[in-house]
Amino acid sequence: MARILLVLPILIASLYLGGCNYRVDKQPQEVDPNFIYVPQAMIDSASYKQVSGFVFSKNCLSCHDSGKVPLDSYQKVVSNVDKIYSSVFIKRTMPKAPNPPLSYDQKMILLAWIKAGAPEVAKNGTVTPVPTPIPLEPTFKSLKANVFDMKCTQCHSLGGDAARIPLVTKEDFLNSPLIIIDPQNPDESGLLVVLDPKFGSKKFMPPDKSGYTPVTDEQLKAVRDWIHNGTHD
């Protein structure tokens, strides 16, 4: 009995101290991409065309169409695949604002493709339908897909830093009191003034801080032609 009385406090004390022996882990938790469920069939049918159409062209190319980590061709993407994996799934630093984060479905597609070994064509030969790219031409539909939504809309829409100058609909461009499009003097249109470096505008767009690359010469020509040709749909 005396032995029990002696051992019992020690037992209670050890349980008490042991029970409180937890710690808050302040190290950043790495996201295990395996939490994203990727069916084997998806891995087998993953292709560059699919991942490019659903992920890179929508969330990456507005910044990564040139620069240190270009993602505008299969060869360039494959040479950067480790960086892509790390920045999306481990460090979670990409895509950067103002680009929206990848959706769960987009992460699945990207991870399936990486798990498949970043193939150009699907292992099982499947050709997955992907959004057909709209060719760059001087129409609003084409410019919206290839230029405005890639370089402008994220900031120039509700909730964006430049929401007071919306650039979402064609009417936003045509009816703005800022004379974004000037039908009388097309070359003085605000859109050209801020996109074309020859004007030397202090409000050159996209601004450096956005991370977006400037429009290409081809994109600028399409915008200029669109304005000169009467801003067709």
């Binding site: 007071r164 009191p177 800022l178 004379i179 003085e188 004007f199 505008s201 202090k202 409000k203």
Partner: protein, 196 residues
């Protein structure tokens, strides 16, 4: 005769109310005039001094006799020149703030205009106006008379107690006798605002 006068008065009131309802506010017209001046400078249609030597901006709603008449006139004045005159530019706008025309009033080259290291003076004026356009809706409802009925603004360069150079914009309203003061950093970011 009295009936005729009454009908004419009602018709006039009805027209002016309709035009007011379709129109932007005076502060928005002021902000849009700043954008226009920047554009004119970029297009090299006016002197760059209108961007760098901004001193004051006044804005007034005009009486329209026809829908195509200008609805607003904004006048930017640069800092005074050596002979006491100031270069000015008038911007006429429709009731949505679209610029209709501009008129440059020649004055002497500005002297003693502050040198800004970050944003241009007109950019600072524009960013101060952004607070007038949006601040009353969120943090400071007492700013509203300056939003709806702005009369004028003046831009200064000041130094705070820690030695930091700031932009100070003072606003007047047609509705109230108080002054709205907006402080910005020289890069155009907001610091503080007060109505006194």
């Amino acid at each position: 005769m009295k009936k005729l006068l009454l009908i004419a008065l009602m018709a006039t009131l009805g027209r002016s109310q309709a035009s007011v309802a379709d129109s932007i506010t005076l502060s928005k017209a002021a902000e849009l005039s700043c954008h226009r001046i920047e554009r004119l400078v970029t297009l090299k249609k006016i002197d760059a001094g209108y961007e760098t030597n901004f001193s004051t901006l006044t804005v007034v709603a005009l009486q329209q006799t026809q829908p195509t008449d200008p609805a607003f006139k904004a006048v930017e004045s640069q800092y005074l020149g050596a002979d006491g005159t100031a270069a000015q530019i008038e911007i006429l706008m429709d009731n949505q703030g679209k610029p209709l025309s501009f008129n440059v009033i020649t004055g002497a080259t500005a002297v003693n205009a502050p040198v800004w290291t970050g944003a241009d003076s007109i950019n600072l004026a524009e960013n101060s106006l952004h607070f007038v356009l949006e601040g009353w809706q969120t943090t400071q409802p007492e700013v509203k008379p300056f939003y709806t009925d702005m009369k004028a603004m003046r831009l200064f360069q000041v130094t705070d107690s820690s030695g930091q150079v700031l932009s100070k914009a003072e606003f007047l309203s047609y509705l109230v006798g108080t002054t709205l003061t907006v402080y910005l950093k020289t890069d155009g970011t907001f610091v503080s605002a007060a109505v006194k």
